[in-house]
Each structure stands twice: as structure tokens, then as C-alpha cells.
Amino acid sequence: MTSLFRFHGGVHPPEHKAESNATPIRPAPVPPLLHIALGQSVGNAAQPCVSVGDTVPAGACLGRAEGRISVAVHAPVAGVVRAIAPHPFAHPSGLSVPTLTLEPNGSTATVDPQPLAWQSADPRSVLAHLRDQGVVGLGGAVFPTHLKLGGTGLDTLVVNGAECEPYLTCDDRLMRERAQDIVTGILIAAGLTHARRILVGIEDNKPEALAAMQHAASGSGIDVVAIPTLYPSGGAKQLIRILTGIEVPAGTRSSDLGVQCFNVATLYTLAQALHQGLPVTRRIVTLTGAVAEPGNVEALIGSPIGWLLNTAHAGYCTEYGVIVGGPMMGFTLPDLNAGLTKACNGLIAKSPTLFPPRPPALPCIRCGDCARVCPAELQPMDLFWLAKARQFDRAQAQHLFDCIECGACSYVCPSQIPLVDYYRFAKGELWAADRDKKAADRARQRHLFREHRQARDKAEKAARFAAARPAAVPLASAGGSAEQPPTPTSSDAAKQAAIAAAMARAAAKTTPPSAASAAVEPPPIPSPDEAKRAAIAAAMARAAAKTAPPSAVPAAVEPPPIPSPDEAKRAAIAAAMARAAAKTAAAAVASPPESPTP
């Protein structure tokens, strides 16, 4: 018997599991259209490998994995690809992402299953197979499973059958009905990671699932453990703490400590992918809340969520919204046309009786209830203050990123403050700042490289010129040529400068005084190429004249814009400067022969 440990805090929200866990899993019907998002995992979206109009059999690969953190996506049924375009995604933002729309055509064409004898195969090919079959973590994080199975020398494999979220029963039903397949998956994962010990944690409010798993696992060396029901014991770090006593420190992965955690549904699909050779094209989803027939369905990935809920209750009331995930950690779906993703473990139809609107938030009274229930041992009230005051770096110093957004603090808050919403807001701002910082570093690099490239090109040009000149003017001595700039260059630069000056003068004439004075003044770029700069200044002056704000127009329309002596003088100065610069540039061009450039 394994001795159990406790994590800090935790709450006991009403379970509401009895509504949906009494009936067996039923297969969901095939919808008229499937909206399969190409990004079904953490990391990069899959790269589509079919085109619009293609007819594909069931199980066909629709998108290949792109990059390291990515998995493939597949067709759940045979059909015709109708579109590859942005479509609303099951995400709190409600934004559209590249989505493949498949119209089922009723055909029974199926891709031949590709099972893999994983015991004898090269471990790398097993992992590639899992990637190509689209196996991801189905607990909600959708992290590609093949990346978690890569390391060897694992001490403990923790299997997550806790399902602590209220309302959700998909893992419960899966363990009751398909325990044998889950055990197969557990043994494969243990074999791939060479785990020494296997622990399955199931909350004691699921006695049937516990019994089924214990029966299926008997004699296999798997330890199926009943853990006390306490939200959020299904969090990976919390479950590892309960079963092994190991506390995963901030900023560390559990795999660094020799522990890896997998959800039961993930291991079920793992067994399907390797034994049956079936890609992940469907998942068990709990349909519950304000519906007539709550229960679990095995739904096709990409089924429109609103349509799927309708199969549990014809004409259910959509006006109150639908929660994707559980009531504690899930989100209200902005668009019911979004397709089911691999992350959706439950769909809960809201109603005012089940989910009364949250009363208006009152001020924080610093009662400390949130700190007592926080499973990450944070100080939620301090994080709330810091997020509200937008002191994000201080919130980060107080370990904001250790927050797992379980919602226990919001649940117990007597002032009804939506605490997790504040943490999500603060995290979003910090991530955005981090992205901006990275973008700035990239921009700095690109700018430096551009300057380097321009200098290099110029030096190369000068070297080429110097190499070509002796052939053209064989009689000129080296000393003479250095003192006397070559005629073509000087005349060229002079011509350019004259053109620039003329253009600048013309611009000064047609531009309202304020714009002209601003534009003609040369920008303080310390580049030796002054002639070019004069040309740019002239172009900018032209553009400024073109896009002069309407307010400036009347000023330009009244008295004919006789070039005021001031502006003429300024243009002349600019032109003179350009000419002088051209001369120095020509001298610079002439000097390089002394120091040959590589």
C-alpha cells in the first residue's frame, strides 16, 4: 500500500458528476461539417498536406507536424476538403485560426491502420509514429506526448485519473469501460521511459473506475491508488505530490526529478496509435449542464461545439453560453461554431439556475481565505493587488507564474473577486512584455546587420572601383590619382547633388513653410553618403507636401508661395552641403587603394 501525501490547500466544490456518469459512452453522430483546427497542440500548427477539393478517406493525414513541438492532424471520417481558412477556435479570445473544413461524404473509405511493434522498433521511430498519429495530452494541456516520452531513466510514472473538476466524467467513463486499453497504454509508456514504478491516482469518488482499473491492472505491477477527493488533486504537480511526496519546485519540470505524469485518456490514445494503428481523430467529451440527456459521447475532432451540444438536447438554450472545460478552469466559449479540439474534455451548457451570475465584486478584506486554499502556496491577495496596480514585475517576483489558475481562490473569496481573471490579465501583460523584448532584441540584431552589410557593400564597391580604374587610366600615377579625384565620379556626384538641390528647392516652393523647414533640414545621420541623403530629404519633402494635413492646405492656397528668402537660403545651404559631401565622398572613394579590402 502506497502512503499518500497532502498538498497545500484545496477546496470541495459541489461535484455534479452524477448527472453524466451514469450512462455509457455513446458514439456521437457525424456532423454535416467538421472544422478541424490545424493547431491541435501546444507549439506549431500542422502544415496542411491536402488541398481544397481533395477527397480524403477516414484517418488520412490532413496536416503534417511542423517543427519540433507539433503533431499531425487527421480526418476523422471520409469526406471532401471544403476550405483551409481561418475559422473561430475554441479559445477564450474567440479568434480565428487556420482551420480545415471537411464535409463528410458518407463513404466508408479508410486508411489502413499502421500498428507498430513498439517493443522491437527503434525508440526514435516510435516517437515519430506517435507524432504522426497526433497523440497529445488530453487532460487539457495538449502537449505533444512524444516529447514527454523521449527521456529514459524515469523513476516514477504517474497516471492521472483523478478528474477533480466538477461536472466532468469523461475519464471516469473511459476508465470504467476501456480499462484494459488504458493499462496497455500505461505499460507502453512505462516501457518507453523505463519507469521503475507506476502509480495510478484516482479520486475516491469514482469507486467503479477504481475497481475496473484495479481489475485490469492486477498482476501487471501497476499500483492503482485511491486518493481523497479534493480539488485540484488532478493538477500534475498536485497529483505527483499526493502520490510520491515530491514537491516540484518553481521553474522545474517534474521530469527533472524523475517523475512524469500522463492523463488516462492520453494513454488510451497512445495504445490505440501503437497497437491498433489508429490516429487520434476522436475523444470522449462530457456533455452536461442544462441539457436533457447529460452524458459522455465519443465525438469526432472538429465537430461544431454548438451542434454537438444539440445532440444531447435538441434546442438547448444557447443564450446563456457554453463552458469549455470544467466550471473551475474552463472558459465561456465566444463562438459556438468553433470545432471540437483535442483539449475539450467537457462542454457545459450554462443556465441561470446552475451558474447564477457572479455578484459584483466587493473590496478585498484581506481575510486570507485564498492563501489558505491555494495549492501552489502563493499569496493570492498580494498577487491581486499587484495585478490591479499593474506592478507586473513585482507580481512575477511573487511567483505569479506558479499559479495554475485552478480557481480555488476565486471560489472561496467572500468578496466575490474574480481573482483568476486578474492573474490571467497580469500573465498576459508579462508575456506580451517578454515578446516585445524579444522582438526588440531581434530588431537590434537586424539593424546592426543591415549597417554592417551596407558598410561591407560600400567597401566592396570601392575596392572594385579601385581595381577597375588602373585598367581604364593606365597612365595616371598612384600619387596623382589620390590627390586628384577622378573626373567621372566628381561630375557624377556633382550632378546628383545639383538634382537633389533642385528637387529640394522645388519641394520648398510647393510645401507649406512649417513642413518644408522640417523636411529640408537634413536628418542627422552620420553617413558619409550625403548626396543620397539630400535626395532622400527631397523625397521626404515631396511626400510631406503630398500628404500635408488638411489644416495646412489653406495656408498653402493663399498668397502664391513665392520662395521666401529664408527657405531659398536654406535650400541653397542644403545643396551646398550635399555638393561638399559629394566631394568628400569622391575623395573617400579614391583613397581605398592604400588599404585593400578583403
Binding site: 479568434l95 485560426v97 486578474y422 506580451a432 536628418p523 542627422p524 552620420p526 503630398k546
Partner: protein, 185 residues
């Protein structure tokens, strides 16, 4: 007398020794470049837009480090950028000057590709090489690399470049500040 002589010799010897040590240290541990300007440059947003009056972020950082420029001249950095510079330099934050460019929401350039004539003028103006194209070929912006400096707008002879808000994806989406609706009774 000899005590005084010994003391003087000792002090003189020490002075020579320590002076030599300092001299060597200044040569061996010499700091290349300007570390303060590096730190300032790291805080600047690297848009290279020139709104500060300097031709890029590094020249502005140098100007701040040498005391020639004030810390409130970088609109893309915003109030937050001023605060960070003030923290670094140990001075009081100050608002943007009246009449100077004010901070605006970040934008990125977008080329109306149908109107582009392939003149390459915008490519030459882009300080971070974020425009892809070739002579007489359509150009396009690498949105991920665009800093929103708007320097490509002026050279375009056909006015086919506009500044638009950067595209938002679920990965770059930011949750809003929690808003509690007012309940009218």
C-alpha cells in the same frame, strides 16, 4: 631619523606599487565601449524610427549616456520606457514634452500588394530589413520583424503602404483587465 627614513621609504614604495597595480588594472580590465549606453540601448524599443531626433536607437542611447539628450524623447517606449530609463539613471521620470511626438498604439506596415510597383525604395528605407521584394517585383512586409517605425511610408511613390494594428492570434492575445459590469437596480 632612520625610523622616519624607513617610514618614508615604505610609504613611497607602497605608493609606487599600488600605482603600478592600478595602472595595470586599467589596462587589463579595460571596458570596451560604453557600458551605460549598452544598458540604455537594452531598454529602448529598437524601432529605429528616429522620432527622438537621432538616427536610431543606439545613437539616442549614446546621447542619453553623454547627457546630450533627455529620457523623454522615445514615443514607442511609452511612459513605461521613461520609467525604466529613470530607474536606470537614477533620475525622476518626466512626461513627454509638449508638441513632441506622443506615444501611440503599436502598428505594423502593410503593403497594398496590388498597387506595389516594385521600386525598392521602401526596402532601402527599412532599418531592420523587414521588407521582402526585388526590383519590379511585388514587395511585402515581414510582419513579425516590422517595428512600426513608418519610415517606409514617405519614400513610397504610389502610397501603397499603410500602418495597421498588428494581427492578433490566440498565442499573442492578451486577456482583458477584469471588468465587473455595473448592475442597475
Amino acid at each position: 631619523m632612520s625610523t622616519l627614513g624607513v617610514a618614508l621609504a615604505l610609504m613611497a614604495g607602497l605608493a609606487v606599487l599600488l600605482g603600478a597595480g592600478l595602472g595595470f588594472a586599467s589596462v587589463i580590465f579595460r571596458v570596451e565601449g560604453d557600458p551605460l549606453a549598452d544598458k540604455i540601448d537594452a531598454l529602448l524599443p529598437q524601432t529605429q524610427c528616429g522620432q527622438c531626433g537621432y538616427p536610431g536607437c543606439r545613437p539616442y542611447a549614446n546621447a542619453i549616456a553623454s547627457g546630450q539628450a533627455d529620457i523623454n524623447q522615445c514615443p514607442p517606449g511609452g511612459e513605461d520606457g521613461i520609467r525604466k530609463l529613470a530607474d536606470l539613471l537614477g533620475v525622476e521620470p518626466k512626461p513627454f514634452a509638449e508638441g513632441a511626438p506622443q506615444p501611440q498604439a503599436k502598428t505594423v506596415a502593410l503593403i497594398e500588394e496590388a498597387d506595389c510597383i516594385g521600386c525598392t525604395l521602401c526596402i532601402q528605407a527599412c532599418p531592420v530589413d523587414a521588407i521582402l521584394g526585388a526590383s519590379k517585383q511585388m514587395h511585402t512586409i515581414l510582419t513579425r520583424e516590422c517595428t512600426g517605425c513608418a519610415l517606409c511610408i514617405a519614400p513610397c511613390p504610389v502610397d501603397c503602404i499603410r500602418m495597421v494594428p498588428p494581427p492578433v492570434t490566440p498565442d499573442t492575445w492578451k486577456p482583458r483587465y477584469p471588468v465587473i459590469p455595473l448592475v442597475m437596480k
